[in-house]
């Protein structure tokens, strides 16, 4: 049973200036959040590190989380999107080329899985537990 799906995106050959620009990266988050209809919980966190000026962004989602890290010295950005609900494919390569000038975008998808046997067993435990009102 799949409890979550994680996309690991490595975007190489980006424009270094854009990878130091918090607003440019926020625009990538905004586009992704809007187009995949994701819901942000609380405030997004953004931090720009000292030169060469890499940026980290984190957003908690009701669907799980979104993270990015940029390495302007290597013209590279890495993005994680973790969703516990199914989402359509997003055109990562197309959008990251448009928005960050990426020349090469690698997308890896990993499922976070628990064994079906265990899912059945824990679902039973969960039902008992809920029926007992323990949480």
């Amino acid at each position: 049973m799949i409890v979550g799906t994680e996309w690991l995106i490595d975007a190489a050959g980006c424009e270094a200036e854009l990878l130091c620009d918090v607003r440019a990266l926020q625009r990538v988050f905004d586009c992704l959040i809007t187009e995949l209809d994701l819901q942000v919980v609380g405030e997004q966190m953004w931090h720009k590190f000292p030169p060469p000026g890499g940026v980290t962004g984190l957003a908690m989602l009701t669907e799980s989380h979104l993270a990015c890290h940029t390495y302007p010295e290597f013209q590279t950005a890495t993005i994680n999107l973790y969703c516990c609900r199914e989402r359509p494919a997003w055109p990562w390569a197309e959008r990251l080329k448009e928005m960050l000038g990426a020349r090469e975008v690698t997308v890896r998808v990993h499922h976070r899985v628990i064994a079906d046997e265990q899912a059945c067993e824990t679902a039973e435990l969960s039902t008992s537990s809920l029926a007992g009102g323990s949480w």
Copy 2:
């Protein structure tokens, strides 16, 4: 060239009550942060969802980020640790058994990589760019 290393941890068979307990999960983060000598940037974000009461935690690190999501209905927790600096192995299975009662812990490690050829090329661009003082 490796720009970051990501550990994807799936812990099954945990105690459901602990997966609803923000303090219990914060203790896991604290233990990991202390033992791996990680540095938190700003405040950690924690959110408890409506019943069955899963919890999400996010911490921005100078080394990248740490995230956890719990599924008490499936007695499962998933954790991501992304580090852009090398770190020793952490005894995930041992600690998550001690702290969350996990019966089965799966650890997957993924490197975030850019091609060496590109790393050399971008390092040259970076040097030129820094020399020019553009960022």
